[in-house]
Symmetry: C2
Subunit: 216 residues, 2 copies
DNA sequence: TAGATTGTTAATCGATTAACAATC
DNA sequence: TAGATTGTTAATCGATTAACAATC
């Protein structure tokens, strides 16, 4: 175990490991090797061992990793051994879809507040949470110890919402708007805009694929 | 302009450039420098110049890049000078939210087919597209020249859907399910699962707690 | 013990950044 | 011309992979 700074690439792989480990746990598989993990997750086994070794000696030589123990450790590393309160800003189509995903409850993340500007939406219930006006964001976020904000508002509003989340003391933002947010360096932002993703995918379609006739 | 193979990191930045260039175009700004782009997009100017230079000499020394011309060029590179047909598989909350995003229409991407397994959903209209049973996927995708598939089905079904999309000759997949899909190497897959993103964000919340110590 | 597999160091590979001649 | 900015090479930085002693 080293006290190096961990790269974001490493951090982003931890949830991927966790997810497959949970599946193994459900199937009551007791241990797993880096080789098996690598095969299943399309990663190099050495990379997996190195990733995990940044945080401790979790494996056993000749045996592999104890599934339950590794799950526990990764959850600790990701701060998912405690409940993480999340606020959702923007109760449009996408925001509503995300709030209905209770999948992350299992991972100890919980949406505890939803905000919107539209008079029609304010006061309605989404997943048993009352939509609040955005003016209440700073106070509510502070009071409820919200740590992560999800932004699903239109592009033009995104930066303003981010500013308010920062003011309220948020630690991280998941941004679905296609805007580069300007935030202090101690606030982490991940871009989650799927249209950017789609556009980059289009690049890979030029493999001479203008073929309409398929002989197979 | 070199005939090197372009890395995915470069390709993923192109839509980011394109988006800001579109904004400049709307504001009728005629030219932009790599420095200005870099500042706005939090990127190194040299990196931007290098990215663009992979594809051609688009800039003018002493002047910068002509906004309209660069937009046209990036759209060509990304194959967005032609309409890209997209199929959406999974008409749940998230799928419906994505289908309503008409934003990508502007980028020449169009959802032309939607599939689901649920009897309640089949036959209903989403954004004036009739939801079809998943059994019709292969044929419809082939007939409509669909190039990209978006997967928004539950985890357990994701691989099966991917297999069908591949069978139908799709070129790329945007996968919202938290599963590592196994596809032939000529099919590009981008993971778009936001819960993975959220979990990795949680890692960065330990700011209140222990401070990372370097030098040991 | 023999086979398996980790943790870790060293080697490799790839991506980012700095620097600058060319030139608008 | 003087200032600005590109395209590109070289330098740097960082991430991935290979290799292997340690050891279960």
């Amino acid at each position: 175990m080293k006290s190096e700074k961990i790269s974001d690439a490493v951090v982003r792989r931890l949830p991927v490991y966790l997810r497959y480990l949970n599946e193994l746990s459900r199937r009551e598989v007791p241990t797993v090797s880096s080789q098996e993990l690598g095969q299943k997750l399309d990663l190099n086994p050495a990379q997996i061992r190195k990733d995990l070794a940044y945080f401790g000696d979790f494996g056993r030589k000749g045996i592999g990793y104890d599934v339950s123990y590794l799950i526990e450790k990764i959850r600790q590393i990701l701060n998912l051994d405690q409940q993480i309160n999340v606020a959702l800003v923007g109760a449009g189509n996408l925001g509503q879809a995300l709030s209905n995903y209770n999948a992350y409850l299992r991972d100890n993340m919980k949406i505890v507040a939803i905000f919107d500007t539209s008079a029609e939406k304010i006061g309605t219930q989404i997943n048993s949470i009352t939509v609040q006006p955005i003016e209440e964001l700073v106070e509510t976020v502070r009071q409820n110890h919200v740590r992560i904000g999800i932004i699903t508002v239109p592009n033009i509003e995104a930066q303003r919402v981010a500013d308010q989340l920062v003011e309220a003391g948020i630690g991280a933002i998941l941004n679905f708007a296609p805007t580069i947010l300007k935030v202090p360096s101690d606030v982490r932002v991940h871009a989650a805009d799927f249209t950017t993703d789609l556009m980059s995918l289009a690049y890979y379609l030029n493999a001479g694929k203008e073929v309409t006739v398929d002989e197979s």
